[in-house]
């Protein structure tokens, strides 16, 4: 049985699960509705108390929007951060917090990091297991855009060679991310530091010329300015890793390398990556970590938070539905005479119950549809705010998880919607007709 289930494609599993969650709704509909047409009356009753019905629908919509928006947003953050970390197999830094190093390298959030020396870069560059070892140098900026010093190899690694313009040929040429608002050929003056703390006049003599632009990647690197790491060193009055002037890129002379906060490493094989991580995890010297692993730990924590928030959203949905159904039961008393009239005309009890049930279920459906739409809009708004702050391209879209949650909600709520229907007609119709 289990193997049959796991043998099914994902869409089939989702569909079956959705149907199972909707089972109460489907079963009730199959029992109540066949042979009758209760819709026109249910709709007429909604129109009678239009204002109250709208408020009920809005309440349901808000609770659904909250739940689905939250799920969609959380998934969007996960997929965007995972995408951003994708090109970074292994990162080697000075010992410290993996999380800080992750944020500094993958997400380009400025932070103080220790430096590692040219010998580590040399050792990595000559290792057979290594396909790419690119130094990173941070600390300067142009406006809001951080300047990242590195080698041309990393630019190829990030872009796969898809570049507007060309890669730098000398130390003071720059390749910019797709979101950096400068023209090709523009001249950029770096400021020391990033953001508010930047000192605009520390590097007055230096100037970069923009020669290339990377394709959009949906990561914080879209707003970075990439320059040769030699330039970063020179601007700070340090040696630039080479004996000859004007040399750009590897090989570096270890003793002339002033140090760098991080080295991005791509391994030739998965096994190589693991052994490199072990080899470069050295007490007091270097730390090596997989950004993907650190993110996975972070998702674990986020998952716990999401779990707690999902439960809160679920509880709030339950409360809202309970409140709305109580309200509908009270509203139903207002049209007891109409229901008694149906009994007087000879309508079967099943028909009267189905009118009441549909009356409630139509509120639920309208609320759920409106809730999914507004949840999508809310998640979109939230995403654009988070995107602006982090540079991550978040696209929060409704997915299977939200639809399944909504299916479960509809299933349970449609069962609960029988209550107003069953509570309303116990009195004998003759009472209500007088």
């Amino acid at each position: 049985m289990a193997s049959l289930w796991y043998g099914l494609p994902a869409w089939a599993q989702d569909t079956l699960l959705g149907l199972a969650l909707l089972a109460p709704l489907i079963l009730i509909a199959l029992v109540l509705l066949p042979g009758h047409r209760p819709w026109p009356l249910a709709y007429a009753l909604i129109r009678r108390h239009w204002g109250v019905s709208s408020i009920f629908v809005i309440l349901i919509a808000l609770s659904v929007a909250l739940g689905t928006g939250l799920l969609a947003q959380e998934r969007a953050i996960r997929s965007a951060t995972a995408r951003a970390a994708d090109p970074f197999d292994l990162v080697v830094t000075a010992p410290g917090s993996e999380l800080t190093a992750l944020f500094a390298t993958v997400f380009l959030r400025a932070s103080d990091m220790g430096l590692i020396g040219g010998d580590v870069l040399e050792e990595l560059s000559s290792d057979k297991r290594v396909a790419l070892a690119a130094p990173l140098g941070f600390g300067d900026s142009v406006g809001d855009a951080p300047i990242v010093g590195t080698t041309a190899d990393l630019v190829y690694h990030l872009t796969g060679g898809a570049l507007e313009g060309r890669i730098w040929a000398s130390a003071f040429e720059a390749v910019v991310g797709s979101d950096v608002a400068v023209e090709m050929g523009a001249h950029l003056e770096p400021a020391h530091g990033v953001g508010e703390a930047a000192d605009d006049h520390a590097h007055d003599a230096a100037e970069f010329t923009v020669v290339g632009r990377m394709e959009p990647s949906g990561t914080p690197w879209d707003r970075a300015i990439l320059v040769p790491i030699e330039a970063v060193w020179q601007v700070h009055g340090l040696a630039d890793g080479h004996r000859e002037a004007d040399q750009v890129g590897p090989p570096f002379v270890p003793e002339l390398v002033p140090g760098m906060p991080a080295i991005v490493v791509a391994a030739n094989s998965l096994g190589g990556a693991y052994s490199l991580r072990a080899a470069f995890t050295r007490d007091g010297e270097t730390m090596a970590f997989f950004p993907g692993t650190v993110l996975a730990q972070l998702y674990g924590v986020m998952g716990d938070v999401r779990g707690a928030m999902s439960i809160m959203a679920l509880v709030s949905q339950g409360l809202v539905v309970g409140g709305v159904l109580c309200g509908l039961a009270i509203v139903a008393r207002l049209f007891r005479r109409q229901l008694a009239l149906l009994a007087a005309l000879g309508a079967p009890a099943r028909f009267v119950v189905s009118v009441m049930w549909l009356h409630s279920v139509m509120h639920l459906f309208a609320g759920v549809v409106l809730g999914l739409l507004s949840g999508q809009i809310a998640a979109g708004l939230l995403s654009s705010i988070v995107s602006r702050q982090t540079g991550l391209d978040l696209s929060a879209e409704l997915g299977g998880a939200e639809l399944l949650a909504v299916a479960g909600f509809l299933g349970l709520a449609s069962l609960a919607a029988l209550l107003p229907a069953l509570v309303t007609p116990p009195r004998h119709p003759a009472h209500d007709l007088r």
Partner: protein, 224 residues
């Protein structure tokens, strides 16, 4: 069977909520296709009698036989089914669905009748409305006058071609002119289709048109 749905009531006792009889009727019989008026002051039991004859009341003992069917022997569902098949009812305050148009109101029966008869019910409802001079293409009955609304209700009662028409104070909420139109519709249709018509009313103009009139007082037949 020409006498299929003649009415015979015997030893009828209707118990009220407090387990006391609120209405008694020793004997009443009515041939099929005849018309009966029920007169009496408020509280005399006119509405109770109409509801009892429709099988709308619980706690009824005795016999209410429409043809072969004794309503007091039927359960709730059986009485509903009997009403659906044989009874049309008209009430003092119309009881329309205001949000539906005249045609939908008059044809409301089609919403729960068997699929094969739906079309027939709807066409008949529209034909009845047309005969009464009511336009059926409105989307609401909220703006109709009281007389128009009651005639929609009469069309609704007739749409399923009932053998029995029961009306409880059908003209009490209407001004004279509208009341006369409703009386005309009710009586004309009953006579034409050979319906049995029983009307509880204060309205002498309506009672005058009935074959017979009985008088109730204090929940029992008043001495003639």
């Amino acid at each position: 069977m020409a006498d299929a749905l003649s009415l015979v009531v015997e030893d009828l006792v209707v118990m009220g909520d407090e387990r006391r009889p609120i209405m008694t009727l020793d004997r009443l019989s009515l041939p099929r296709g005849s018309t009966l008026g029920v007169r009496g002051p408020s509280g005399a039991g006119k509405t109770t009698l109409i509801f009892a004859l429709a099988g709308l009341l619980p706690n009824v003992s005795g016999r209410i036989s429409w043809g072969e069917t004794d309503l007091t022997a039927l359960g709730e569902a059986g009485r509903r089914a009997f009403r659906a098949a044989h009874v049309g009812m008209v009430f003092q305050d119309f009881l329309l669905f205001d949000e539906l148009g005249p045609a939908a109101n008059a044809g409301v029966f089609a919403l729960f009748s068997p699929r094969r008869s739906r079309h027939h019910v709807r066409t008949r409802a529209e034909r009845l409305l047309a005969r009464m001079g009511l336009s059926s293409d409105r989307s609401s009955t909220a703006t109709l006058s009281g007389g128009e609304r009651q005639r929609v209700a009469v069309a609704r009662a007739l749409a399923n071609e009932p053998d029995i028409l029961l009306a409880d104070e059908p003209t009490a909420s209407l001004h004279r002119e509208a009341a006369d139109l409703v009386i005309g519709d009710l009586v004309a249709h009953a006579r034409e289709a050979d319906h049995t018509l029983i009307v509880a009313s204060h309205d002498e103009r309506l009672l005058d048109r009935m074959d017979r009139v009985i008088e109730l007082a204090g929940g029992a037949r008043a001495a003639a």
